[in-house]
Amino acid sequence: MKEELNTLEQTVSSDYKYGFVTDIDTDIVPKGINETVIRLISAKKNEPGWMLDWRLKAYTQWQKMEEPKWPNVTYPPINYQDIIYYAAPKQKEQLKGLDELDPELRRTFEKLGISLDEQKRLSGVAVDVVMDSVSVATSFKKQLSEIGVIFCSMSEAIQQHPDLVKKYMGSVVPMTDNYFAALNAAVFTDGSFCYIPKGVRCPMELSTYFRINTENSGQFERTLIIAEDDSYVSYLEGCTAPMRDENQLHAAVVELVALNKAEIKYSTVQNWYPGDKEGHGGIYNFVTKRGICLGERSKISWTQVETGSAITWKYPSVILKGDYSIGEFYSVALTNNHQQADTGTKMIHLGKNTKSRIVAKGISAGYSNNSYRGLVRASKWATNARNYSQCDSLLLGDKCGANTFPYIEVKNTTAIVEHEATTSKIGEDQLFYCRQRGIDTETAVALIVNGFAKEVMNQLPMEFAVEAQKLLAISLEGSVG
């Protein structure tokens, strides 16, 4: 028994591969949040008046709100006056093309495995890269625009497509939705905007890569995806940050709108810096993601692989408004060392014959704490609503924790909600069994973890599934024997 503890105690030996800092001139707004800072951000982005008003209103609301205390995570109080709210790599005002990108930035993203060169780029994936507060480049814009797909930074969308932004921004996640959403609405700096016109099946994966670079800065981006009738889009986001001893805040908002028979597939591979082995540093990932199936027979599917961040707090949700609409949530959340995660989903059934499916897999190792929190609500109009939820926890060692908090509210007697949960543990017995068959510890852990997460990984776009699988294995490297 003692031996068992010893081997399982040895935690991560592998280094976070993305922990470097890019040395680039950065335009920074002084620390702290107040009206002046918000006006400054808005002015820097040359925003129309309505946008500034929206921000100021959100700021007023935010000041009246309180940070949520209910998540199953602990952290010291955040000093919101000690955060830089705007940091932008300095470069030419208007890039004519990707060739004009600062070579240092290009190198940075190449080091992260993101080639901005359209020729070299994974075929079939368009990418928008956001560094700190701004989008620095978007590929395949031209090709996409030929079929009417708009894929650009949020800043550009505010300038070029104000009607769409005005109509949909805040329509899914209202500015007062929660503390972090309100903060985001006040100070958000960039993010991605996607618009898929009626009847178009977007021919490539759209993706955004988020990178935090500047010290003491926070990242507050907003993403908005609108899929018109009979359209389809698959979108993927990835993220990394340098290794630092101080915690950094990432408070993003993502809104998805699916109209009649439209389908949005949104995948996340979240690999923010998780902090060191002792739990110093790392990103606070406090994110509000929500989609609305506005049209009949529309579908929104969230897939997330969460391995990074010191603390993760996010509940990608679907409001099933259109009759026969479908919501899905597939999640793998892995925590190691001192990481904490409180994540899950909300499926809000409003329309008739709506269906939702939740598959959540939590993997905890080291001293980490991993909670699934989910709400399934069937309103009184949601005749024949169906939900199936499956929540599984896998523990490595016995210093980590896993919790499940499923909330179910059913107001319609024809609705059926099913929930299943399991907890299992990788123990020394299993590892020895594998080793006795010639499978070494590392391979055994990868085998077990990947087997456990398979159902979710299968949902990822092919190009990213392999990468995500490796990420799971790397994140656990050295966590056993």
Partner: protein, 257 residues
């Protein structure tokens, strides 16, 4: 093939094995019998390299190599197989995938290419027949929700797939009804081979009715107290383990005089 000399072993400081000598040659079938708690499983786990089972004295060579210096996975890759008394469940990993990984890790160790899907499937089909194992069992997670008999059959199936040089079967017969016992014994019998040795650990004579050993050893208090041919097993069955105790008691008394 396996040569054990004067092995002493402790678990958490507690002395369990008190000097074991054993020589096993290719093609031989040995049986170790002994009452509960005599150290049979401990011996098997020491040979397989389980953490926490500390060898304090003695040596063991396997195919000319120092067994005790190798990590468990290398012992396995060298051809040592242990059919566990209590096979472990591994949720989420299909039995097929597990065995495929094991087979290929062993091949990698020997510098061989991994088996391709076709060759692997062919071997799988072949060996399935050997132990009457059902296809549906193989698509399920390793041992998860298997009945006692299915778990034991799965152990022998893995043995068949991995083609070890030395197979140690730790109480593979316990918990099996007579039909299951016959199937398992039949499977093991078919795996008898001039280059393969088998060490059967059992509490009862039962299995030995179907699997005739060349040698029988009696383990008592962490020591081999008697060795003989297959007739020793019958004698034990007839007289029970008490007769060994009595005999030993007597010896001890004589020595004391």
């Amino acid at each position: 093939m396996l040569s054990i000399k004067n092995i002493h072993a402790t678990i958490e400081g507690k002395q369990i094995l008190n000097g074991i000598d054993l020589d096993i040659k290719p093609g031989e079938v040995h049986a170790i019998m002994g009452p509960n708690g005599s150290g049979k499983s401990t011996l098997a786990l020491v040979l397989a390299g389980r953490d926490g089972y500390e060898v304090t004295q003695g040596s063991a060579t396997f195919s000319g190599k120092n067994l005790l210096e190798m990590p468990p996975e290398d012992r396995a890759r060298e051809g040592l197989f242990l059919a566990f008394q209590y096979p472990v469940e591994i949720p989420g990993v299909s039995t097929t995938n597990f065995i495929k990984t094991a087979v290929n890790e062993k091949r990698k160790y020997r510098g061989e290419e991994p088996l391709d899907a076709v060759a692997f499937l062919k071997r799988l089909k072949e060996k399935m027949a050997l132990v009457n194992i059902d296809q549906s069992l193989l698509s399920r997670s390793v041992n998860e929700g298997f009945s006692g008999g299915e778990k034991k059959r799965n152990e022998i199936f893995q043995m068949a797939m991995l083609e070890p040089k030395l197979a140690i079967l730790d109480e593979t017969d316990s918990g099996l009804d007579i039909d299951a016992l016959r199937i398992v014994a039949k499977g093991v019998n078919q795996l008898r081979h001039k280059d393969r040795a088998i060490l059967i650990i059992t509490h009862y004579q039962r299995l030995l009715d179907y699997l005739t050993p060349d040698f029988v050893h009696v383990l008592y208090n962490g020591r081999i107290v008697r060795s003989g041919g297959k007739e020793l097993a019958l004698e034990l069955e007839e007289k029970g383990y008490d007769f060994i105790k009595d005999e030993l008691g007597l010896t001890a008394d004589l020595q004391a005089e």
